[in-house]
């Protein structure tokens, strides 16, 4: 397997009032071209931080992200991001939201007519052509997320980064979008990193699932190869023993090996003064 994207020993520390907080500790991951990777872990474990570092939105304190043998440390359209909350510009139509990215990325490379065609092509890919003149406020949450995906795809990224893209959607819409994503993936064969906390989603979509340990100082816990034939069908897979085996493996990791400690009573280190404890327990 040749490495296309190398996330090489990245660590990150955030400055806080009580000293630096180490969110990631030497996260290391090598991804091949066209691979679909899911990053899964409990909330707060830093999986979004990994994605933001790859996107160039955060800068790693240690380590580097190497894409096609070149180090990347600033954001760019070669690593397009689909954000959790669609993040469409509310004052632009669906078409214009994709167009603003296309115009910027293909400045001087495509003619105006070609750009319009390219926007239309990408909207068609996510089945949103019918709403291209609508404003984001006029379409549903699932449709907004489709447009967000179209905008990211339209940048022709080397790596597509998706930060819990379906997390805010209802189960049915989510299933539709997962199917749409698999369909697009079979056509374009992008390299994808998907952040998720949905085990089914991870098993259904991925070639490999990367399970992260709990933070602080989160690292790669286990990596699971998903050897299910494509195209995958969620109904057929429901009774597939391999599928269920993979599911069980991820669930075991999340709920046994990395089980979250109970949230209450509040965890307090001995360094904290007694008044804080009283406040925390509401006394």
């Amino acid at each position: 397997m040749s490495t296309y994207l190398d996330i090489s020993q990245i660590s990150i520390e955030f400055p806080t009032k009580t000293g630096p907080f180490k969110a990631l500790d030497k996260v290391d991951l090598k991804i091949a071209r066209g691979e679909f990777i899911s990053l899964i872990g409990h909330s707060g474990c830093g999986k979004s931080t990994v994605l933001n570092i790859v996107a160039g939105l955060y800068e790693a304190t240690e380590g580097a992200v190497i894409l096609e043998s070149k180090e990347v440390n600033a954001p760019g359209p070669d690593r397009a991001v689909v954000f959790q909350h669609h993040s469409l510009f509310p004052w632009l139509t669906v078409f214009e939201n994709v167009e603003i990215a296309v115009k910027q990325v293909f400045k001087g490379k495509k003619s105006k007519a070609e750009m319009r065609q390219w926007v239309d092509y990408n909207l068609a890919l996510v089945h949103m052509s019918h709403a291209s003149h609508k404003l984001p406020a006029e379409i549903s949450g699932g449709m907004k997320q489709r447009v967000g995906i179209a905008r990211a795809l339209a940048m022709e990224p080397k790596v597509l980064l998706m930060d819990e893209p379906f997390g805010a959607l209802d189960a049915l819409t989510r299933a539709h979008l997962q199917d749409a994503l698999m369909e697009i993936q079979s056509e374009l064969n992008n390299t994808v990193i998907l952040i998720t906390h949905d085990v089914d989603e991870a098993v259904l979509l991925s070639d490999r699932i990367v399970m992260m340990t709990n933070g602080p100082a989160a690292k790669v816990g286990e990596i699971l190869n998903i050897d299910l034939p494509r195209p995958r069908d969620r109904l057929a897979l429901a009774d597939n023993p391999d599928y269920n085996h993979y599911r069980a493996a991820v669930l075991t990791f999340l709920h046994q090996k990395q089980a979250k400690k109970p949230a209450s009573p509040p965890q307090l280190s001995s360094a904290e003064p007694l008044t804080e404890v009283k406040k925390a327990v509401g006394a």
């Binding site: 359209p77 690593r79 991001v81 993040s87 509310p90 004052w91 404003l135 406020a137 905008r151």
Partner: protein
């Protein structure tokens, strides 16, 4: 479809109370419309009637040195009087120009090379002229304020450091009364604005600048807050597609902050209108403020009623300006204001 659009535009323009009337005219669910009419039109009308009754009884019990405090009827007749004066003054103006034209034509008939003079009519401004003057003044001041406040607000919103630096200055200058600014403005304008044939009168400039000084702050603060609180994801989108700094400001920061900017502008215009009346009183700019002051100095038995007319006019104009800004906001900005 046509009706739907009309109804939508009426709501946008702040005439929501007309909607049930139009629906009733097309006999759409008449019972519900009747209830809506009672709610949207009936209740305010009752409130106004009660207010007029209280005003009327209270006024008749207040005796001032200029006679009884004017009740609603006295104010209506004063308003009619002001309208009559306006008509008479306009007739005089027309007559003046006719005489002047006739004289000039006769002059030219006698001698085609004669130098003719065209003079403007210099009668005193009528009540309606004064309203127009006030509107021009307030919009001049408001426009200058917006031109200054929006760019500074955007810069502050983009730079937390600059924002921290100038926030105390803004907070200190914001509550200053127009009456405190005006003497300073007057002295500076008379020192700086020296011209033999001034295009704009000093009193106009004084009033407009005072309006500017008092009404720029809400726009500035709201713009800064609006720009500073743009959704981080939207900014990140801009970074991912590598928009340049200028494009990021024009394509992301300004449109995203537009609802807040408009809220600021709306508050600013309201404050500007309030401040203007005080400024005109002291600066003797021929607008509504000067009208009130002159009537007060005049001290005739009509004066109080005429001042009440001005009070109601000021209220109405303020209300219309606010609705105008609100409508503009709904049309231009993308949020549901």
């Amino acid at each position: 479809m046509f009706k739907q659009n009309t109804l939508h535009y009426l709501s946008v323009a702040g005439f929501a109370w007309l909607v049930p009337l139009i629906k009733l005219a097309s006999w759409e669910n008449p019972r519900e419309q009747a209830q809506e009419i009672v709610r949207l039109i009936g209740l305010p009308v009752i409130a106004i009637l009660v207010f007029l009754a209280i005003w009327s009884t209270a006024a008749s019990r207040i005796d001032t040195s200029l006679g009884t405090f004017p009740g609603p009827t006295a104010v209506v007749s004063a308003a009619q009087g002001l309208y009559q004066e306006h008509v008479v003054e306009r007739e005089k103006a027309v007559a003046f120009y006719e005489r002047q034209n006739k004289r000039n034509e006769e002059k030219l008939a006698r001698n085609p090379d004669a130098e003719i003079k065209i003079r403007d009519y210099t009668g005193k401004p009528t009540y309606f002229d004064q309203i127009i003057t006030s509107l021009i003044t307030v919009f001049t001041g408001f426009l200058i304020a917006s031109i200054i406040a929006v760019p500074i607000g955007i810069t502050c919103g983009l730079s937390p450091l600059l924002n921290t630096a100038i926030t105390p200055i803004i907070q200190i200058l914001k509550p200053v009364s127009p009456l405190a600014w005006l003497p300073l403005v007057t002295m500076v304008v008379s020192a700086v604005y020296v011209s033999d044939d001034p295009l704009l009168s000093k009193s106009f400039i004084n009033s407009a600048i005072t309006v500017t000084l008092c009404c720029m702050w809400p726009t500035l603060i709201n713009t800064a807050v609006g720009v500073a609180n743009i959704d981080k994801d939207l900014i990140n989108v801009g970074r991912v597609i590598q928009l340049g700094w200028f494009t990021r400001v024009t394509k992301i920061a300004i449109p995203a902050a537009l609802p807040m900017i408009f809220t600021g502008l709306r508050i600013s215009l309201g404050i500007g209108w309030m401040v203007l009346i005080a400024a005109e009183m002291l600066a003797q700019n021929p607008g509504l403020g000067k009208f009130v002051w002159d009537e007060f100095q005049n001290g005739s038995s009509e004066s109080l009623a005429r001042i009440m007319v001005a009070v109601i006019t000021i209220g109405f104009v303020g209300f219309i300006l606010d609705s105008f800004m609100h409508t503009l906001h709904k049309i231009i900005a993308h949020d549901e204001a």
